[in-house]
Amino acid sequence: MSNIPADLRYTKSHEWVRTLADGTLEVGITDHAQHALGDLVFVEVPEAGRSVKANEPCAVVESVKAASDVYAPFAGQVVAGNSRLTAEPETVNTEPYAGGWLMRLKAAPGSLEAAQLLSPADYQKLLDAEGG
């Protein structure tokens, strides 16, 4: 059974989004996603200042088995990539919703609303439908 924190929002491609106190949005991959990928051995995060479009691949997580893209859930600008993951990619496995965050973004005006992020309940339904 996957862990789906109630205070986050989600995407159909298994990212989570957290609103920080200053309005910046933190993005990572869900517990379901990290479990499906297996042991992560390499993570590439975007550099601060980069502008991203909604659904643009902007990070890569690689397990022993395969490489997977992580998509920007909405358009905006990268405030920070999580540099800890360069040396400790396994943090995404051990704490996907905390130390394993991938990037912090500043949303472009209106982009967050346009993104139609999923509630925890709707994300759970998505997993149920996928048989996960």
Binding site: G38, D39, V41, F42, E44, V60, E62, V64, A67
Partner: protein, 362 residues
């Protein structure tokens, strides 16, 4: 639903993640793939390799038949139980499969062929065996376990009747022996010591449970792949196939061109290549930059030539990425690999990368 081995329900009970592998529903991992990898390098692990196909050959002309069928020469097999690794080629020298052949004295020879090629292989073998009066028997009644790691043999012999333990421990590397209903061979695909055990299907589940109780870790095909790649061993379908020949696949050592009088399938094509020199070779790569090498990534060579990665992964033992790559014959000591549009530096090395738990690459 794919084909299933006698251990399928046990894999499910052990919470394995099941994937399709060459038409078979097989366990890729039970828990952490890296954990399973280290268990084999440091202690012992057990793999279900029952999807591989055991084919027994019998008849007085079997040696002549195999000397025609295989690129390696079974005349090298002098003692009972001794094994030989060989390619089976088509007339163009392309690799139909790689296999192990055991010499079993008067009872004939035993082949172990790959899962993904078994139907094609058996058809190819049968089509040629008839002319020699050789009987071909697919042993679908057998399961196969690979028990691998520095502690593997000491653990596995505890499953044998006490009277057979000494005989099993006395096996030379790359040889096997029938002990009661089990055929025990000191072979493997991990770069560690251990056994591959062919046993009646109904013995497979109790044997697996006993090994687990002895502390032998259940290991899936994921760890099997990282272990074999660290050991510098080819995977059929990745590192060679019908469109590639042994000399460009790191397998020249398995082709017996001597004696010249032996007319094996593919010989003509290989002689021509040996004379001209193979234009490509298979090498090992160690990534010097951060990232993970994967099959089909493009390899760029100093003089403008290019090659391709055939197998790549993150090496849990070396904690960096390694690969096998097919590159132009003149490739030097350094190459670049195109990973998602970035050119990363890799060093050319001679496999294996790891053997008996020890890193051979710095």
């Amino acid at each position: 639903m794919g084909r299933r081995t006698p251990l399928f329900e046990l894999h499910r009970e052990l919470n394995a993640r099941i994937v399709d592998f060459g038409g078979w529903d097989m366990p890729v991992q039970y828990g952490s793939q890296i954990g399973e990898h280290h268990a084999v390098r440091r202690a012992a692990g057990v793999f279900d390799v029952s999807h591989m196909c055991v084919v027994d050959l019998s008849g007085t002309r079997t040696p002549e038949f195999l000397r025609e069928l295989l690129a390696n020469d079974v005349a090298k097999l002098k003692s009972h139980g001794k094994a030989l690794y060989s390619c089976m080629l088509n007339e163009q020298g392309g690799v139909l499969d790689d296999l192990i052949v055991y010499f079993l004295g008067d009872s004939g020879y035993r082949l172990v062929v790959n899962a993904g090629t078994r139907d094609k292989d058996v058809a190819w073998i049968r089509a040629r065996a008839a002319a020699h009066g050789v009987q071909v028997k697919e042993r679908s009644d057998l399961a196969m376990l690979a028990v691998q790691g520095p502690q593997a043999r000491a653990k596995a012999v505890q499953l044998l009747p006490p009277a057979d333990v000494d005989a099993a421990l006395a096996l030379d590397t790359f040889s096997g022996r029938q002990l009661g209903g089990w055929f025990v061979a000191r072979t493997g695909y991990t770069g560690e010591d251990g056994f591959e055990i062919m046993l009646p299907a109904e013995d497979a589940v109790p044997a697996w449970r006993s090994l687990n109780a002895l502390g032998v870790a259940s290991c899936g095909l994921g760890a099997r792949d990282t272990l074999r790649l660290e050991a510098g061993m080819n995977l059929y379908g990745n590192d060679m196939d019908e469109s590639t020949q042994p000399f460009e696949s790191g397998l020249a050592w398995t082709v017996a061109l001597e004696p010249r009088t032996r007319r094996f399938v593919g010989r003509g094509a290989l002689e021509a290549i040996a004379q001209a020199g193979s234009p490509r070779k298979l090498v090992g790569l160690v990534l010097e930059d951060r990232g993970v090498l994967r099959s089909h990534q493009k390899v760029l060579v100093a003089d403008g030539g290019a090659g391709e990665i055939t197998s790549g992964t993150f090496s849990p033992t070396l904690e960096r990425s390694i690969a096998l790559a097919r590159v132009p014959a003149q490739t030097g000591a350094q190459v670049q690999v195109d990973i998602r549009g970035k050119l990363l530096n890799a060093r050319v090395v001679r496999p294996p990368f790891v053997r008996f738990g020890r890193a051979l690459i710095t």
